[in-house]
């Protein structure tokens, strides 16, 4: 039965380089990754929804809740990316769940952009410009701080390894 392994069973004794289609199939996104991204996205979006419901802002007001969400999400991704790529080997689903899912679902670019536009329409162009630049600056400083602080705090332990 030489064809038994070919009908859908991806045995590890099959050389994937022999068949480009098989290689492409192996590169397909696993359902577990999509499920982790989706579940994380739900948690992140619900946290964002909870915060914006608890601290509502009206037309023409500085969107502090979304500002805080995007800045803190950027700080967290800086910490997370150093942890999973430089400090320790993480489970393959940690980055899809926490990084792509939770933080991606928590932070939002679309609300940021539409709030800027509506602030201009509501006659607050200076606030809109301040929010535009302020969020960008805070986000970049937050990522940088998260990355540098995590590297700094994890360095002594990494240095002690034999």
């Amino acid at each position: 039965m030489p064809n038994a392994a070919a009908d859908g069973h991806l045995d590890h004794d099959v050389d994937p380089h022999a068949d480009p289609h098989l290689l492409a199939r192996l590169r397909c996104v696993p359902w577990s990754t999509l499920a982790a991204v989706s579940a994380g996205g739900v948690l992140g979006a619900l946290a964002r929804y909870g915060l914006t419901s608890a601290f509502p802002y009206g037309p023409g007001e500085f969107p502090w809740p979304v500002f805080g969400i995007n800045a803190s999400g950027c700080l967290a991704i800086g910490v997370l990316m150093v942890l999973v790529t430089e400090v320790r080997r993480a489970h393959p689903l940690v980055r899809p769940f926490l990084g792509v899912g939770v933080l991606g679902g928590f932070t939002t670019f679309s609300t940021y952009v539409v709030d800027i536009q509506q602030a201009v329409e509501d006659g607050a162009p200076a606030m809109a410009l301040g929010y535009l630049a302020g969020t960008l600056a805070a986000a970049l400083v937050a990522v940088y701080t998260g990355v540098r602080l995590t590297r700094l705090l994890s360095r002594p332990r990494a240095g002690n390894r034999p």
Binding site: A45, Y49, C74, G105, T108, L136
Partner: protein
């Protein structure tokens, strides 16, 4: 009920961002984060459209807060921009920030114009 609609929208939006990012990035052999740029522009256009309709509260929770919110991302945008700057690709970093915000604003405006045209 609103919470469930937000959750449902995000359950679709987040994996949609992941798949779009992979598909777009696979087409470009460059350091520029085209994948994140694409999802942020699409999310901005859709939210601009919904905001101008105006959509009902249920629709806004599902498609606006849930789907567009989870489809677009600021954390990955911020991280990728910082990484470009850190790796010496300063021009790409500035271009990414400027292009993402400009294109996002333009896309949201287009969404609003389309909504105005549809509703009359």
């Amino acid at each position: 009920m609103t919470v469930l609609l937000v959750a449902l929208g995000a359950a679709l939006g987040a994996p949609l961002r992941y798949l779009t990012d992979r598909a777009v990035q696979a087409q470009h052999d460059s350091v520029f984060p085209w994948g994140t740029f694409t999802v942020n522009v699409i999310g901005s256009a859709l939210l601009g459209f919904l905001a101008a309709l105006p959509a009902g509260s249920g629709m806004m929770a599902f498609a606006g807060t849930g789907l567009c919110g989870a489809l677009s991302t600021y954390s990955t945008f911020g991280y990728e921009t910082m990484r470009l700057a850190e790796e010496g690709a300063r021009f790409s970093a500035v271009a990414n920030a400027a292009a993402s915000i400009t294109a996002g604003l333009g896309a949201a405006y287009c969404g609003m114009v389309i909504a105005a045209a549809v509703t009359g």
